[in-house]
Subunit: 153 residues, 2 copies
Amino acid sequence: MFSKATEYALRAVIYIAQKGSPENKISIEEISGAIGSPRSFTAKILQILRKDNRIIQSVTGPQGGFYMTEQHRKLPVRAILTAMNEDHILSKCVLGLHTCNELKPCPMHASYKKIKEQLIQLFETRTIAQLAHEMDAGTAFIKFLGKKKEKRK
Amino acid sequence: MFSKATEYALRAVIYIAQKGSPENKISIEEISGAIGSPRSFTAKILQILRKDNRIIQSVTGPQGGFYMTEQHRKLPVRAILTAMNEDHILSKCVLGLHTCNELKPCPMHASYKKIKEQLIQLFETRTIAQLAHEMDAGTAFIKFLGKKKEKRK
DNA sequence: ATAAATAAGGACAAAAATATCCTTAATTAC
DNA sequence: GTAATTAAGGATATTTTTGTCCTTATTTAT
């Protein structure tokens, strides 16, 4: 559904929301380790999410890292898609037709429409905080327990 | 949601289902023109769909081209995804976690699950024939009316 | 002030997806 | 059987996505 970059973004933000705060900032190292994403690529993605402090914040230096404010935690998950420039995936035509709309629907339009509406609803109403809380409660998980790269540079 | 290749595949198959028959085979030229896809890339995709006569059939030579049998028209739309090797998109974790399942759900799992079920249901129950019939009935459209490439070789 | 830790950012590399071109094979019309 | 038409298939090119590496800037601790 989404690109790898966006998948990593979603996982990273949820992780930061759960573990990070101004008093406890999280390093790229920890984040990429926890969510199972390539370290340097993740760094790039976090830069995008930090741009204009849209989703996350960061500081350099010792004890530096990434964190979120309460306000940012209240953002809908959709805000992450928007920051990653993949918000359109929720509403685009499933056959990729630019011309598809209510007046000139593609053959899948009517039936797929209901699903799109639910997708948008889901990403719009669920907040980053809610997802983080599920992890706190132990009812949801994001960690890769599996195989790690042997050596990382 | 799907790759461009799969979007083209869906459109091409629906078009062939509507217009093609053993008596009236459709050329790549016509297909790519009608669905607004790059000619040679579309040719590759049609080769994949024709492999083992899974979705479509073809013959070379004058009056040759692509067509479908009634049996193939009865296939669920999902068969196209399977042929294009993108069937997994319907059921994968929205965060891209291989470990995500009922026992170790990701934070989006429970709510996204319902949408996945509907997606699978949609692609499994709707047949290629049904989509073609909507186009016949004039209640659905696939054509690009828009700008075409100036010169095509 | 200096050293250490950390993200920022640029340049580059690798892989995958998308797209084009050319030659070959099959079929049909004549 | 020859020429014309069409898909098959291989090789290559281009673009996008994914990923790595190195240097710089910022902050903190000493």
